[in-house]
Amino acid sequence: MTSERNRWSIVADVLTGLLALIWLLPLIFTILMSLRPSNVPITVGNIFIGCGPFEELDVLCRFTLDNYYEAWLVAPWLQHLLTSVLVVIGVLGVQMITMTLAGYAFAKLRFRGRGLLLGFILLQLMIPTGVLLVQNLTLVRELGVFDTRWALMMPYWGTAFGVLLIRQTFRGVPTDLEEAARIDGANTLQILARVYVPLSLPTYVAFALVSISARWNEFLWPFIATRTAEVRPLTVALNQLYQTTEVGAQYGELMAGTLLVIAPLVVLFLLFQRRFIESFASSGIK
């Protein structure tokens, strides 16, 4: 019985390792390619590292950071990075405010039309903003924010997902705490800032991780809503790099550029693995 159990657990271990390897291989390969000297061709006996078959041990001397340097020169990365960071912060900051206000009203206040207004907001979950490309493009043009960072932020300021999430959390906050604060003369905004928000920090963190990765990773909308290089985020810059370099010839440079773009999120994920997974889970079922 036990030996059979052990056998299955070994099979499961091997399967785990194999699946993980398959899933990791693209990343490993990308890292190796980005470090490979561009004058060392990929051949059958020499796939992974830029060394001849008998020089495998001599790996470090063949690795180079030249590709990163070359990729760095191709685009104004710092500008794109600034845009990506500003958009992420500009979206998240406003979302936090709008969702806190609405989430409190829907969680704790009774008012006419509450169900109707909540249903109205939920329309956003049914019709994803990312699909309404054409009309949102017309809209940002009419609002005069086409080709600015505002165009990348404004469509996401209101968030049905955020409202639902924070409403759920606020419901668990005892109303006694609120009443105590009210007796002390605090108004609604002060109560939110002093009672509700501090007690709901984990929910805000969960929401933030989902929001940050969604905005950081977005491509189609930033691509059509902007034209000037300096207001275009990293994803659009990566596409530019892709379209202007030759896949066959400058692969090292491309892979270096790709890693520059994905590194911040991968590092963030490495640091906050558990929280990331929990918050992505909350983005599905409530």
Binding site: F29, A102, V134, Q135, T235, T258, L268, F280
Partner: protein, 305 residues
């Protein structure tokens, strides 16, 4: 004056909830509801001959054209629509079983849990365009990893993003690689919510691992599976950004998808009516899925009237 004060305060507190929800309601109206109605309305028009001419009302003609296989866009749409269904169906059919296996593997007492979790989940946090640029190189014709491995095994190399019979598969594989870890976490949550003593009872009855898996675990995960079926199918309609780097819908639309098609047509004023009509069709499809999701999972689960 002093008599007015309480009245004023009361009015104010009546208004408070509306003021609190106003920002979100206005933003949702502006960027979701209004554009949706505009999309429907403008799908009934063709642009004027020149930029200064007013649009011409054509009724449902744009839709008729789009479903007409002899029309220049209609013929493309048919193919792209079919591609999208295959892409979504294949993503669901392949990634959900793998996601379940991953969840079962990670849900054991294993060493190196953090590493396995990272391996399976990290593609989820990558931008799709970044994932595509990684895979574009794996797929590359002569220098790519996959073809180099094939050649070293003495097999012929494959034009992964250029062969009309292969391109849809290549595009789907990237999506599967990217999404499976995301779906895994829902199975993981489902597994962890199953009480352990159920298994202990089954083990006492002499049920082996696979019997437990098929008789207990899978039935208990039915809700999760149903949820993931709908969610992953809807997601697949929206995850198209990798096409920009991999194949731009080529060759000859054999590797094209609905939302990417919209994206491609946006620049041309001549096709504006059609682009709106295609968006209506796309949103309509998504609505069917999300509404069925709401009906299945939210009904009775919410205490709002």
């Amino acid at each position: 004056m002093s008599e007015h004060l309480p009245e004023k305060t009361r009015n104010w507190s009546v208004l408070t909830p509306y003021l609190l929800v106003a920002p979100t309601v206005i933003l949702v109206f502006l960027f979701t509801v209004y554009p949706s109605f505009q999309t429907i309305y403008q799908s009934l028009f063709q642009p004027g001959l020149s930029r200064s001419d007013p649009p011409i009302f054509v009724g449902l003609q744009n839709y008729v054209d789009l479903f007409d296989s002899t029309h220049f866009l209609g013929s493309r749409l048919m193919l792209i629509f079919r591609n999208t269904l295959v892409f979504a169906g294949a993503t669901v059919a392949i990634s959900l079983p793998i996601a379940l296996v991953m969840a079962l593997l990670v849900n054991r007492r294993v060493r190196g849990l953090a590493l396995w979790r990272f391996s399976f989940f990290y593609p989820t946090v990558l931008p799709l365009i970044g994932a595509a640029s990684i895979w574009a190189f794996l797929y590359a014709d002569t220098v790519g990893l996959i073809n180099t491995v094939l050649r070293s095994l003495g097999l012929p190399s494959v034009n992964w993003t250029g062969d009309p019979n292969v391109v849809l598969l290549s595009v789907t594989v990237v999506n599967i690689w990217k999404q499976t870890g995301f779906y895994m976490i829902f199975y993981l949550a489902g597994l962890q919510s199953i009480p352990r003593d159920i298994y202990e009872a089954a083990a006492l009855d002499g049920a082996g691992y696979f019997q437990q898996l098929f008789r207990l675990t899978l039935p208990l995960l039915r809700r999760t599976t149903l949820f993931l079926l709908i969610v992953s199918f809807t997601y697949a309609f929206q995850t198209v950004e990798h096409l920009q780097v991999l194949n731009q819908g080529n060759p000859a639309d054999r590797g094209n998808l609905l939302l990417y098609f919209v994206f491609q047509l946006i620049g041309s004023r001549r096709n504006l009516g059609y682009v709106n009509a295609i968006t209506v069709i796309l949103v309509g499809l998504l609505l069917i899925f999300t509404i069925s999701n709401f009906l299945i999972f939210e009904r009775g689960g919410d205490d709002d009237q």
